[in-house]
């Protein structure tokens, strides 16, 4: 009786719930990671065969009603194996989910849609946001280094806010961009390499579209590959709050090769001047207003003079151990109808150089709302404010003189010395501020179960203001003009409208997935530059340029429009044979009148062999997919108005004032030289790359071991080039389409889970090999690339038909001339034939050293790139490491004769062949003496972390603490004290040092 009564009461209590959910019992519990024991939030818990279910809370707890008679619960979560749990009655059921190592069914973002990873037909590299190294990086692109096979990332500068050079499958353009197209949340952002507006903590995934099939959907912007960055979205479940912090202390990675000993420096200086036939300076004399101590005085051995009191070690003054910070607060959550992800980030990176820092404030909102059951609307918003102050400083100044005069003013060596880095750091205004917005509004409409229409409008707005002021006593420019100030403004606005249908239908054994649409994007840039020269005082800096004696205003702008039709059809037969056809037609206002529209088709075929019986017969093979693709992609590379005829503007002083004139010939800079353009070329068009790709994806033992191998061949034609035209026409250069370039290569990615028990250990690696060859340059066989380098009085990099791009072109040397006979026997004359000079080689044997003796002396393109990574997990601990290597590239080392090497100079008593004598008037030529192997292997990142148990602090669901070390050590034969990672053209000299960064990170989830 009592029992009955109890049941009755229970029924009363549960009646509403029963009526609503028709549940007979409730099952509760906590979902955890099977290995780490971390609670898993947002795990979907479904009653099998129904639509009933829930999602786990931030602490992993769930509660779900089951119908009478029991049911099977299905627990599923992205990245984990789904698990089924039969339950017959209510109660507590904790469950441990195993991470899904076989991620074949991950969804991969491709342009204008997504596809299951197993259904990919093209060559696409995938990276999760969590796989990015934890280190200060003002641009996200830097973090891609070594992560994806086929992607080369060069970070030549350690300056906060500096960008990176990104190349996918080599360089395929000479004058157009070689950077991949970067797409942020579906918005084509522009060239990759400088994505400062995205916080790495916000990134859900990065996809790299490498072959023609995957990139052709971006048509005339796809030739260099495409990088898709997708930020985090909201998920159904309780709101989770996460705080991520990263605090970093950095140091110089190695001791710099600069003068540290005044006696050595003065000795070398005197010897260099004597060898040049000039009077030595350091003899205890006043010269040009500066007292130069004698060597004896420097040594303290001069009986009449006290020991020289100064020895300045500039790196200690110019550099510091900077402290950098990053804090990100993220909130994620949502219901069936509303999902959101919001985050805010503060980032501050201090530079190694004093007074140099980069700050960023970043906010992001992704919001989706179901308006009706079949219509979703949403907004994605990214707001970024950046600010850079200061910049790089030289540390190679003379150690003999002090920083300051006794009166506190900056010490000057000679009347026109304005190179005091401390003076520059403390007094020059050098600031840059940027504000960027990317906003997207979209409506997604499920017209039928299998057909969706999406329309969206995006606006990207960017504004930057640069402030500069150079006081009169600090820089030469400041001295020249009695104060020099500028304000530069830049405004960029792009509006994009995209409309496309997505079809998804399975008809029997035939699967269709298709996208078709139209997009239009307008670009609008406006710039203005204000300059003031000559101020009464330096007090106001650039705050009132109107007070300047001379005021200069410049403004400019351009507009362009890109209209596109795009389409893609994925067809699968028996889920085994996959076909993809992609095409995009781009119409650009920038193209010449005779070539307004470009069409870029592509096709791909993949064969999932693991679905075939003969592979199924080998149980250890879990995946075997063969991929082949071919297609065309393009590169716009043309500036607006390049195809129109343009008249130039110039002024001439007549009638007591400057008069403005217009006429043929538009002034431009081609690096060092002024050039004149303006002849129209109405035929100008895009560059076209045709690419074939063959790939094989293999997986063994349920994807514990995976291999992905790709071979590609790319041929780019109609290269956009500034061709010289006959100078007697009155013009120098015109843009034309001629020339062909080839890239081919191999990419290999490997991954192995060696242990997957309580101790999880995996290793991975990738390998990238690219061979680049310039096949044709139109009418030319040889074109310099780049400006004349003052030190060499010649450019250095050249485009030579039959060679890779950017090879070094110059003289060969054969050691150092040891005696006069050797000098004249080498075909050298004058000063160049003296003992102690570099012995240039008379290659053509005509008895003279002339420009005809120059040849190819080096290749800055690496033979291959490689990287290794490993991760180890045990209980709450994890350890990760990444090594990154570049092999077989040459570097032209402008610092070759650094102070430590000047001490090893040639002298009659030290007849070395490694270094010439010191000579302050020597004219250097571009020669192989400067060329050094740039191969290196860098310990890029080591991370050690610990994940605390849930609720170790009350209310804290997840807590992770980790140490991350970056740029820890570099194995290289390159010049000690210098970094071998240099810009893509292989020229090393004067770069901002790359810091060694030691970070402490904390992630807290509540």
């Amino acid at each position: 009786m009592r029992q009955r009564y109890f049941i009755f009461l229970l029924c009363l209590l549960l009646a509403p719930a029963l009526a609503w959910a028709q549940a007979a019992a409730t099952v509760r519990g906590v979902v955890k990671d099977a290995v780490t024991g971390e609670p898993l939030p947002s795990v979907t818990v479904l009653v099998k065969g129904t639509t009933q279910g829930t999602a786990s809370n931030a602490d992993g707890s769930y509660s779900v009603g089951i119908p009478a008679g029991g049911a099977t619960l299905v627990f599923s979560y992205v990245g984990y194996l789904a698990q089924e749990l039969p339950v017959t009655e209510g109660g507590t059921k904790d469950i441990n989910l195993k991470a899904d190592t076989k991620q074949l069914d991950d969804v991969v973002v491709v342009g204008y849609g997504t596809v299951a990873k197993s259904d990919l037909t093209g060559s696409v590299g995938v990276l999760k946001g969590s796989e990015l190294n934890k280190t200060p990086a003002s641009s996200v692109d830097q973090l891609l280094q070594g992560k994806v096979a086929g992607v080369q990332v060069i970070v030549p500068s350690g300056e906060p806010g500096a960008g990176a050079t990104v190349r996918i499958r080599g360089s395929s353009s000479l004058n157009g961009s070689n950077s991949p197209l970067l797409v942020v949340d579906g918005f084509p952002w522009g060239d990759a390499g400088n994505l400062k507006q995205i916080n790495p903590d916000d990134i859900a995934s990065i996809e790299v579209l490498k072959d023609a099939s995957s990139a052709a959907i971006y048509g005339s912007r796809g030739a260099n590959g495409v990088i898709l960055v997708t930020t985090k979205r909201g998920k159904v479940g309780k709101t989770s709050l996460t705080l991520s912090t990263l605090n970093t202390l950095s140091t110089l990675p190695s001791k710099l090769d600069v003068w540290g000993n005044p006696i050595d420096e003065a000795t070398i200086s005197n010897e260099a001047r004597s060898n040049a036939g000039l009077a030595p300076l350091y003899i205890g004399q006043d010269y040009l207003g500066t007292y130069y101590p004698s060597l004896a005085e420097l040594r303290g051995t001069d009986p009449n003079k006290p020991q020289w009191p100064y020895s300045t070690y500039w790196p200690d003054l110019v550099y510091r151990n900077p402290f950098s910070q990053s804090y990100t607060l993220t909130a994620n959550g949502g219901t069936e109808r509303t999902k959101f992800s919001v985050s805010g980030n503060y980032y501050r990176e201090e530079g190694l150089a004093i007074k140099n820092a980069y700050d960023r404030y970043n906010g992001r909102l992704n919001l989706e709302q179901k308006l009706f059951d079949n219509v979703t609307a949403g907004v994605n918003l990214i707001l970024t404010h950046t600010q850079r102050t200061g910049g790089g400083l030289g540390a190679g100044r003379s150690s003999i003189f002090p920083v300051y005069n006794t009166d506190g003013s900056y010490f000057r060596i000679g009347p026109l010395d304005y190179g005091n880095p401390i003076g520059i750091a403390e007094n020059v205004t050098n600031k840059s501020r940027g504000f960027d917005v990317l906003g997207t509004l979209f409506v997604s409409w499920d017209l039928t179960k299998w057909l969706n229409f999406r329309t969206q409008i995006s606006d990207r707005y960017g504004n930057s203001v640069d402030d500069n002021y150079q006081p009169r006593n600090i820089t030469y420019t400041g001295y020249q003009f009695n104060g020099f100030g500028t304000i530069n403004n830049f405004n960029n606005n792009e509006i994009l409208n995209e409309n496309y249908f997505t079809l998804n239908k399975q008809v029997g054994i035939h699967g269709f997935n298709a996208v078709a649409g139209f997009t239009t994007q307008s670009f609008n840039v406006r710039t203005s530059a204000l300059e003031g020269r000559g101020f009464i005082s330096d007090v106001l800096g650039n705050e009132n340029l109107n007070s300047a004696t001379t005021q200069v205003i410049n403004n400019g702008g351009n507009k362009s429009l890109l209209n596109s039709f795009l389409g893609r059809l994925n067809y699968s037969l028996r889920d085994r044979y996959l076909f993809t056809f992609t095409g995009r037609a781009d119409g650009s206002s920038k193209f010449g009148a005779n070539n307004k529209w470009a069409f870029f088709p592509s096709a791909a075929l993949a064969w999932k062999m693991q679905e075939e019986e003969f592979i199924k017969a080998i149980p250890s093979i879990s995946e075997a997919k063969l991929r082949v693709s071919y297609g065309l992609t393009g590169n716009q590379g043309i500036s607006p108005y390049q195809t129109l005829d343009r008249l130039g503007l110039a002024r001439y002083y007549t009638g007591g004032a400057f008069q403005t004139g217009y006429g043929p010939g538009v002034f431009a800079y081609d690096g060092y030289n002024k050039i004149w353009e303006g002849v129209p070329n109405p035929d100008l068009k895009w560059e076209t790359t045709s690419q074939i790709d063959a790939g094989l994806d293999l997986g063994f033992a349920n994807q514990r071991f995976t291999v992905s191998l790709d071979y590609y061949y790319k041929r780019t034609r109609d290269l956009l080039r500034q061709s010289y035209i006959t100078p007697s026409s009155g013009y120098d250069r015109v843009w034309v389409n001629d020339g062909v370039i080839e890239n081919q290569g191999v990419e290999l990615g490997l991954n192995a889970e060696i242990l997957n028990g309580p101790v999880q250990w995996s290793v991975g690696g990738n390998f990238t090999l690219n061979r680049n060859k310039l096949v044709s340059l139109g009418a030319d066989n040889f074109v310099w690339n780049g400006a004349t380098i003052e030190m060499l009085r010649s450019p250095l990099n050249a485009y030579i038909v039959g060679q890779p791009v950017n090879v070094f072109y110059g003289y060969r040397t054969n050691g150092v001339i040891q005696n006069t006979n050797e000098g004249s026997a080498s075909g050298l004359t004058g000063d160049m034939a003296k003992p102690g000079e570099l012995r240039y080689v008379d290659l053509n044997g005509d008895g003279k050293i002339t420009e005809a003796d120059r040849t190819i002396i080096g290749n800055p393109n690496p033979k291959f790139l490689y990287s290794f990574n490993t991760s180890l997990r045990f209980k709450g601990f994890d350890l990760g490491a990444q090594l990154y290597g570049v092999y077989g590239n040459d570097v032209f080392d402008f610092n070759k004769f650094s102070p430590s090497r000047q001490l090893q100079r040639w002298t009659p008593d030290n007849p070395t062949n490694a270094f010439p004598s010191v000579n302050s008037n020597r004219a250097y030529y571009g020669s192989d003496w400067f060329v050094t192997s740039g191969s290196f292997l860098r310990v890029q990142n080591v991370t050690i972390g610990y994940n605390f148990k849930s609720n170790i602090i009350k209310g804290v669901q997840t807590l992770r603490v980790y140490f991350s070390g970056n740029n820890l050590y570099t194995f290289t034969g390159f010049h000690t004290g210098y970094d071998p990672e240099v810009q893509a053209n292989g020229q090393a000299g004067g770069a901002y040092p790359r810091p060694r960064a030691l970070s402490l990170g904390v992630n807290i989830g509540i």
Partner: protein, 491 residues
């Protein structure tokens, strides 16, 4: 049905968006289609034609570099670039950057002058006199550029219409005879179309007379002395007669004359002085090099990087010490010649300490023809003279020969320099040599000497035999730049 409607709507929207035109409209720049319509346009077109002259690559440096370095006037500081040294050592190769640059800039000037000649005559909305003046000046400029080209390179491509499309970029070579015919014709048109009004930095009828006198004297002397390339000239005497007429037109035009104060000729505050027939104009208030000139810095020595004063109190900032005076020229002057004592100062004072610069020192006596004591930063107002009265007087002397008129003309120039009269009774040949030598002293550093040596067939006798230089290659014509040879299929 609903679905089809929706689809239709979406497609219609898509179609609407496509309507945006891909045609590119000029933004922020002037194009051929919206120019050459009004009198202001015509004036601006001529201003653009003049504006090429003071560019650093032309009269504010490049032209002086390639015409003065080969002579005995100047040499270079030791660490100057290799292409400069090729000129100093008279071993200029076809790929020399400075050579190519001068070639380019002369032809850019030709194209700009052609744009005026080709477009301005059809602008009807202006008075004919104004239009003629503008077009006439353009003819003068085209003649000047071609005169430079033919004296530097000999036969060269001939463009007489503006280049507006890629198909027009190549032109065949004109012979020296054809080029000189064009020059003479252009100058005669300029004489007919322009007036005698002085406009600073611009040419007028007087400048055209003077330049035609110089062209005629070049042809006549080239023929008389047997300079290679001038064989086509038929009547040297007639050319000298025309030169004399033209020079006399100049000397009888009262608004021009010899400035009695030699230093005033090169005083940037006296640019409207009587001697300036045609200068390339600059002003230190200009915003870019080419609007202002840095040419003085090339000559001014580097004295401790400091401001120094000359003996007359003129204060100058240290320069680049790039072009340095050669002993050959310096030692050739009569010690009393004011063109040496006044115009090539050899003493500088810094902090009350006076230093004498030796002609063989690193910092040497330097020309003060190019100085601007009011220099701001590195910006100076130093004009580069193209034609001045003394030049025309010496052309008059040359064309007149050892006549009373001839002696009178040369002696006016000598008298101003503080020298006595030229030895009377010289033979025609000796008188000609004396005039060429007088031009060397009077016009040194101004871009004349190389042409005078070439047209008098004295390259070897003066530079090699007298001053011990070596000439590699053609002494009378520089090679046509290799870039032109490689690209111009019609050469």
């Amino acid at each position: 049905m609903q679905f089809l409607k929706t689809l239709g709507l979406a497609v219609a929207l898509t179609g609407l968006a496509t309507a945006c035109s891909l045609k590119e409209e000029p933004y922020g720049f002037i194009s051929q289609t919206n120019f050459y319509k009004t009198e202001s346009d015509a004036n601006a077109a001529l201003v653009y034609a003049y504006a090429i002259l003071p560019e650093i690559e032309y009269y504010s440096r490049g032209f002086i570099t390639i015409t003065e370095l080969p002579t005995e006037d100047i040499t270079l500081k030791p660490d100057a670039g290799a292409s400069n040294f090729e000129f100093d050592r008279l071993a200029v190769r076809a790929d020399n950057v400075d050579l190519t640059t001068t070639w380019r800039y002369a032809y850019i000037g030709i194209n700009r002058a052609n744009a005026v000649i080709g477009n301005v005559p059809s602008i009807t909305a202006m008075a004919q006199a104004n239009r003629d003046q503008l077009v006439g000046e353009a003819y003068f400029l085209r003649a000047l550029h071609y005169f430079n080209v033919v004296r530097l390179f000999g036969a060269a491509p001939l463009h007489t219409t503006p280049v507006t499309s890629l198909s027009q970029t190549n032109a065949a070579k004109g012979t020296m005879q054809e080029i000189y015919a064009l020059i003479t014709d252009d100058l005669k048109k300029a004489i007919a179309m322009t007036d005698v009004t002085r406009r600073d930095g611009r040419a007028n009828k007087v400048a055209a007379w003077g330049l035609l006198a110089k062209v005629d004297a070049t042809l006549a002397s080239g023929k008389n002395t047997g300079v290679p390339g001038y064989e086509f000239v038929t009547d040297a005497a007639a050319l000298y007669a025309e030169a004399k007429t033209m020079a006399t037109n100049v000397t009888t035009n009262t608004s021009y004359g010899l400035d009695s104060d030699l230093k005033a000729v090169f005083d940037v505050t006296k640019k409207s002085g009587p001697e300036h027939i045609f200068d390339v104009a600059t002003d230190r208030s200009g915003l870019t090099e080419g609007n202002f000139s840095k040419l003085p810095l090339m000559f001014i020595p580097y004295i401790d990087g400091a401001v120094f004063t000359l003996n007359d109190g003129t204060a100058l900032k240290s320069g680049y010490n790039h072009f340095i005076t050669e002993p050959a020229l310096y030692n050739s002057f009569d010690p009393a010649d004011k063109r040496k004592t006044d115009l090539i100062p050899n003493q500088v004072t810094v902090n009350n300490k006076t230093t004498t610069l030796g002609i063989n020192d690193y910092s040497r006596p330097f020309t003060r023809k190019f100085i601007d004591p009011g220099q701001v930063g590195e910006q100076t107002s130093a004009n580069t003279p193209v034609l001045r009265y003394a030049d025309v007087l010496l052309l008059l002397a040359e064309a007149s020969g050892p006549t009373t008129e001839g002696y009178a003309a040369i002696n006016r120039v000598r008298a101003r320099a503080g020298l006595g009269a030229l030895t009377p009774g010289l033979s025609a040949a000796a008188f000609f040599d004396a005039v060429i030598q007088e031009r060397a002293w009077e016009l040194c550093f101004e871009g004349n000497r190389l042409f005078d040596l070439r047209r008098s067939h004295k390259m070897e006798s003066v530079l090699v035999q007298k001053y011990g230089k070596t000439i590699t290659g053609d002494a009378y014509y520089f090679p046509i730049p290799s870039r032109e040879v490689d690209l111009n299929s019609l050469l």
